[in-house]
């Protein structure tokens, strides 16, 4: 439902603002990118939380609802989240003007081989418990 609502909002915004001169300025694109990221983060709360009570508690925390809450994350976890998030956003930003296929096409064969090898071994190396993939949990 959230995903559908987001698509509706995006289409409406496009109708009204797509032709405006500032619509394709770098600042607008950065703001739009972070707004999309924030919207996705909100939607993911409902995947992560086991029920609506926990989901609403998490959402409340995301919007400053727990100003004096305990610090429950380790520094290592914070660093990991920051690095992965920056990496994902960076990749999306770097590839914002072209398709994935074009990016791959520009890479030399040895780089595709190296990336493929690292990714395939990472699947083995980052072993987890069975059924870790979220779609298997429905």
């Amino acid at each position: 439902m959230l995903h559908g609502s987001y698509l509706v909002i995006e289409r409406v915004i496009r109708i009204f603002f797509e032709e405006k001169p500032w619509a394709s300025s770098p600042i607008t694109r950065v703001v739009a990118g972070f707004a999309t990221y924030g919207a996705v983060c909100i939607a993911w709360v409902f995947f992560r939380a086991s029920d609506f009570t926990i989901a609403s508690r998490m959402l409340s925390g995301m919007f400053g609802g727990h100003p004096t809450g305990d610090m429950i994350l380790t520094t290592r976890e914070l660093l990991q989240i920051a690095i992965v998030t920056a990496g994902v956003i960076g990749m999306h930003w770097a590839m914002r003007e072209e398709s994935f296929e074009t990016t791959v096409m520009r890479l030399p064969a040895w780089a595709i081989t190296a990336i493929g090898s690292v990714m395939a071994f990472a699947i083995i190396f980052t072993q987890g418990t069975s059924n870790a993939f979220i779609y298997f949990q429905f």
Partner: protein
């Protein structure tokens, strides 16, 4: 002559998804694909696939060799799916072991079978509280067997929402809700884990290595204590045996685990969002509720002809001192037996059950667990008369 696959694709009008040479337009286009099919970028894919396969197989073999050189061996990972396979074997008259990791390490199923006439089913789960499994058996109207229930007070009284409670609830939930995909996945997992040594997610995964990084936490951070590393082997019956590396005299691993138990068994300070006296009153209420719930569950099982015996398994050293200080016997074990009117075996009450050494203060070695079980059987028979 068209192949079987291409003929099939043609008949079903399936798009040609793979290994199609992209058109010139697609190669220079750079934008979204011009048609529904995603173009495959031009690259020597066959060669790349072969090299990647060779590299990954070599890296995996090296990783397996490294894991074995560190002393790791193939062993099952205990999880909610493995617990579910054991829970499924419970018959109306089964002997079932429930509780925490002490019952998991210290009970030898062969000795129990010899002494009690039936092979028990191991449902004790490490780091978990017993209540969800006991409640599940009490609700199972068909069950009227025998329960051997381990008691570690700090875990027994674990409140709702705490990690020991969540771990135990996860097991019971999986038993009731396991999907066919999860069942098949577990069987595949068992097949692999019985052959591959590096499948130890807590120790030999990226997450395991990241957890070992010594990065200081923020002052005042309320982060959970560290969990012990891998130190047991588990088989298909969920029988846990202590890893030799931990069991050997003067083991560095055992010493490290000893120091992990102390913060893990120390109750966390009250959360900041609730006054301390209110929090302590809630804890007191929770303990009384647990006593009442367990008593009701025991009566329910007993009313159907079932039997239950509580067992306190050996613990030693600093952990024994800590447990006895935080939750003394008079406030946990004694009232439990009185309220439930159930027999109990406290290991230190019997000379033949005392004197066992727990290398890391909490569990017996694989060898000692056999001897301990042999000596425990007469007491169990007496209690279950």
């Amino acid at each position: 002559m068209p192949s079987f696959i291409s003929n099939f694709k043609q008949r079903l009008r399936l798009p040609r998804m793979f290994f199609r040479k992209p058109t010139r337009e697609e190669q220079i286009h750079g934008g979204p694909p011009l048609e529904f099919e995603r173009p495959i970028p031009p690259a020597p894919w066959r060669g790349i696939t072969v090299v990647v396969t060779i590299v990954v197989i070599a890296a995996t073999a090296l990783w397996e060799w490294h894991a074995r050189s560190l002393g790791y061996a193939p062993s099952l990972n205990d999880n909610d799916d493995l617990w579910t396979t054991a829970r499924r074997r419970v018959q109306p008259e089964s002997i079932v072991i429930i509780g925490d990791s002490r019952a998991w390490f210290d009970c030898d199923l062969d000795e129990f079978q010899k002494g009690l006439g039936k092979r028990p089913i191991q449902l004790a789960a490490p780091g978990s509280t017993v209540w969800p499994a006991l409640e599940d058996l009490a609700k199972d109207e068909t069950f009227h067997g025998t329960i051997i229930c381990s008691i570690v007070p700090m875990l027994f009284f674990a409140p709702p929402g705490s990690p020991p409670m969540e771990r135990a609830e996860k097991n019971v939930k999986r038993f009731h809700n396991q999907t066919p995909a999860q069942r098949v996945s577990e069987q595949l997992g068992i097949w692999l884990e019985e052959r591959v040594a590096f499948l130890k997610p807590d120790d030999l995964s990226l997450e395991g290595f990241l957890n070992q990084l010594s990065i200081a936490n923020r002052p005042g951070a309320r982060v959970p204590p560290t969990f012990p590393p891998y130190f047991e082997r588990v088989d298909r019956e969920r029988r846990a045996r202590m890893w030799e590396k931990c069991a050997e005299p003067g083991s560095e691993l055992a010493k490290r685990i000893q120091q992990i138990w102390l913060p893990l068994f120390t109750p966390p300070p009250p959360p900041s969002y609730i006054p301390k006296d209110v929090f302590m009153a809630k804890i007191g209420e929770g303990i009384q509720k647990r006593f009442a719930d367990v008593t009701a569950a025991v009566e329910k099982i007993r009313a159907r002809g079932g039997k239950i015996v509580f067992v306190r398994f050996p613990h030693t050293g600093g952990l024994k001192e800590l447990e006895n200080k935080i939750m003394p016997r008079e406030k946990s074990w004694d009232p439990l037996l009185q309220m439930t009117k159930t027999p109990g075996i406290y290991y230190s009450d019997f000379p033949e059950l005392s004197g066992f050494n727990c290398p890391e203060w909490s569990h017996l070695t694989a060898g000692d667990s056999v001897e301990f079980s042999k000596r425990l059987v007469p007491h169990l028979r007496e209690a279950l008369k």
